[in-house]
Every structure is written in structure tokens, then in C-alpha cells.
Amino acid sequence: MYPNPNELTIAQASDRLECGEFSSTDLTRSCLDRIAATDSTLQAFVTVLEDEAMEQAKLADARFTKGQRLGTLDGIPLAIKDVILIANTRATGSSKILSNYTSAYDATVITKLRAAGAVFLGKTNLDEFAMGASTENSAFQVTKNPWDITRVPGGSSGGSAVAVAADQCIAALGSDTGGSVRQPASLTGIVGLKPTYGRVSRYGLMPMAASHNIIGSMAKTVEDASILFQAIAGKDAKDSVTVDREPITYNLEPRTLNGVRIGVPKEYFIDGMDKEVEQSVRAGIQTLKDLGAEIKEISLPHTKYALGVYYILVPSEVSADVARYDGIRYGYSVETDPEYLKDHKSLTLFDVYQDSRARGFGSEVRRRIMIGTYALSAGYYDAYYAKAQKVRTLIRQDFMHAFNDVDCIATPTSPLPAFKIGEKADDPLTMYLADVFTVSLNVAGVPGMSIPCGFTKNNLPIGLQLIGNYFDEARLFQVGGAFEQATQWHLKKPNL
């Protein structure tokens, strides 16, 4: 059966645009129609840019007519996580404190995608300022998992994940500070790439723990994840941690994995993990072996401390990142809130700070600000922050040692499939454990990718996480691409 245009991948849609089978206007319209038909249920989008998207699509079509197609992404409709700025467009971070904020400029990734001709369909929902693992912490709405709308899509890039999984877009951008691209990709059955730290510019990304975070692709196939990655990667003077490195090529030729050494760390198969997840991931590793890879059991001995390191360092960085939301410069301010001013006649500067922040931030953001403030405060710095940075060195060394013996590491992405909405909402620590297999990559800075590797009996997707050495995304595309060619999991679609 011929699929609707919105169901296609970047590569498929691009071929059809190229040969004139449909226009970018048709393609964009089909995504917008899909959003209109499904988003009142799924709530993936915070802002839909219908007019702007149709305008961009028309410009793409005008280029095609003149034979001036810019490349693979020209005319392709994408969804953008609402922590990434698009000039003159509302940008909320799913926070009340930015609910009326309009960005003045484009993020570097947006500048690059614009130059490649991409169409921006809208901004997707997330856990407030990307803090969370379920997309329940949004100030606006709870995004639903299209495989079971009583369940979360994971987070924090849950809106982008759902937009891809439900064919509301062709592909999307997310951001990943501790698993925020990979974990929702796993829970919604799509591909999610967290590039190496420093591969992609964060200029115009709302800051969230700057020594951990990165922008990544969320896509229907490994090939698409690679196409998007190549479009956004590269050095940028506006983000000083970006590096100048050769672009990665993705080769579509069918291949084997002969000679590829894949490590399976015993610390990632723990008591309490879901049995169906373990079975699917083990079966996926067997598939890699059948494709010719050499499977080796390895050890990453400091794995169990990664979450502890993460929940000291990230809140510490967050407490500084969100200091900019002060009720003075931009965003929500009690000074312009008529409700507040009715009961507060005389205001001090301190009141403006502490009341704007208390009213503007949701509970998880406040929690992280306070943990960070505590960990960095006089008398506690050595016990928490300094100690965590030392253990971080040990975690990085674990990966460096492992990559002396293997080319790639395979693990589960998430210990559990999608959980019920509300199930973990009252217990922050339980929610943090959802990222137990993903955070160590951000702590170390190495790249990782979640790919679909199976389904539970209840038809919930399961993800396999591939981990690469620093700057070796090409290996993830090679191994993930071979796996995808040998399996059908990525082709399954939710019934909506």
C-alpha cells in the first residue's frame, strides 16, 4: 500500500521530491494534517508553525521548479524541541517562566537547517527546561505515548519522539543531557542519536548543564539520523566546545559486521530490569553476532556511580544556568503580573527575584536548583562537586579502557519500557533511575544511539543503545545501519 507522505523517511521523501512525485507543499500539508488529526490526543506540540511552514514549503517548491534543489533536506518538514530557538518564534522550554517569550535569533542548528532548505513544523513539548524523563514536567501539557496513550513517551524530548513515532513530521531535533534523546526514542520505537560532546553547536539551545548536553537527531531510521546529524554538526565560534572534525559519511551498501568488536558490559544487565527488555536486548546482540560481529563481555566498573555523579554535577550546573531567569531581564516577572501586584503593594528587589522564580519554575527545576545550590555552597563543595568530578574521571577512564578492546558497546537504552502516566511523578529519585543506562555517556562525553530492537507482549517498544568512542559516530551508523537492514522493528507503526 502506498504510504501517506508524512509516513516517509527523510531519504524516501527526498527521493520523491527530487523526482516530482509530490511537492514540499504536499508533504508539509500531510504532516500538518496529521498533527491536526492526532495532536489533541498526543499533545506533542507546544506551538505549531502552520503558516510559516507552508511559506517555507512554497519557497522550497519554487527552488525545485527552477532546478535549484539545495540537497537532501530541502523541503523536508521537521519538528524542533522547544528548547531550540527559531527567530521571531515563541520559545518556552515548556516553562511557565518563558510562556510568553519570543526568541530574537536562530540557534546555529536552525541556521544550518534553514540553509539546507528544511521546513519547521513547530516546537515540541518537553520536561521543563529538559529536566525529566517522562515529559510530564511540562508547564503546559502531558505528551502521550502513541503506542499506549495511558503511558509516557519518556523524556525530556518526549514531544519530538512522539512527533516522529506518530508520523506528525519526517524527523526531529531533540537535546540530550542524560538520556533525553535516547530514552524517549527507546520508549516510542524510533532512532535517537546523542552525538559526542562538542560535535554540535549549542548556540541558541536553552542551557541545561553545559558540560553534559548536546543536540541530537530523532528519526525513523539510522540513515535519517545520520543525515540530520551531518547537517547540524561542525565547529561554531559561538560555542567554544565545538570541534573541527571530518564529516561522517553514511554508506547505504548492505554490509556485514565482520571484524567489528562489540562489547557487552555486565554492569548494564542489573537486577530489577524488565525481563522482556533484557530478552529483546540480548536477542539484538545475537543479531549483531549473526551479522559477523565479535561479541565480548566487558566491564565498566564505575557504572553504578554514574547516576550519583550526574545528580551532583547537573544540578550544580543547572543552578547557575537558570540564574538568568530573575524576573528582571526577560521571561515571567511578578512586576508585570497584575494578579500578583494586587496583593503586593511594596516590592523589594529581593521579592522580585524570589517571587518571580518561585512562581515561574516548576517543582523539578526548583529541586535541581536547590540540590545544586547546596552542593556548591561553602563547606559542601569538596564533598559533592569536587568528589563527583573525580569519579567522573574514573567513568571516562572506564570507557577509554573499554575502547582499547572493542569498537562499539551494546546495552539496553532504558531498564523499563514506557511507564504509566503519573506512576513515577511523586518520587523524583525513582524518575531519575529511568536514566540509569544513559547518563554515563553524558558524564563521559561519548556518543550513543538508541535503535528499536523489539516489543513487549503489550506492544511497547524496546531500544538497544549503541555506544561509540569519542567522535566515532560513524561506527554507530555502521552497526545500527546493519542491524536495521537485518530487522523489521523500525518499520512497525503505532495504531492511532
Partner: protein, 96 residues
């Protein structure tokens, strides 16, 4: 377990005006998070250098030059100020 006074101190340092009820909720939650991350104490880090940058970069610098923004961009930024006067950000007196 953190004391109520400690949580109030943290909230004040972080410029968050919390109600008594919120202070109590956060007291429990922050204490259990701090207990959890306290497990790092058991790791021997004698002689281990703290991480300062993960991908090997050092001292990235650039010229400190002013790059003018467009009139549109300028206007969009000013439009975001909660309080403004004559195109400038209006703030409360710091010393009162």
C-alpha cells in the same frame, strides 16, 4: 536529613520563595537525593584528577569583538524586557 532551617537557607540563596508546606516536601525529597548521591563517598579517588573538560579541548579563546545585531534583532530583545524605558531595560534600585 536536612533541617527545615537548612532548606530555608538553600531556598533563600537560590532566590526561591517557598511556602512552609513546600519547604517540608523539599526537605524530604532533597534529603533522599543527597543520601543517594552520597554513595560516591565509597569510591576511592585518591590521586584522581577531577574532570575539567571531557573531549580534550583546552583554553579556547577568540577575539573579543563587538558584532552588531540587526535593528530587528535589537528590537526583539528589547521587546522581551519586563520593564523598559526609552529602549533601555528598567530595573529596581539595588541599594535601597
Amino acid at each position: 536529613m536536612l533541617t527545615t532551617e537548612e532548606v530555608k537557607k538553600i531556598a533563600s540563596l537560590a532566590r526561591l520563595n517557598l511556602t512552609e508546606g513546600e519547604i517540608e516536601i523539599y526537605r524530604g525529597q532533597l534529603s533522599s537525593i543527597l543520601d543517594y548521591v552520597g554513595q560516591l563517598k565509597e569510591v576511592n579517588t585518591d590521586g584522581v584528577e577531577p574532570t575539567r573538560q571531557v573531549s580534550g579541548l583546552q583554553n579556547v579563546t577568540r577575539e573579543d569583538e563587538v558584532i552588531p545585531s540587526s535593528v530587528d534583532e535589537h528590537e526583539r530583545i528589547i521587546n522581551q524586557f519586563p520593564q523598559k524605558q526609552d529602549g533601555l531595560l528598567k530595573v529596581r534600585a539595588v541599594f535601597e
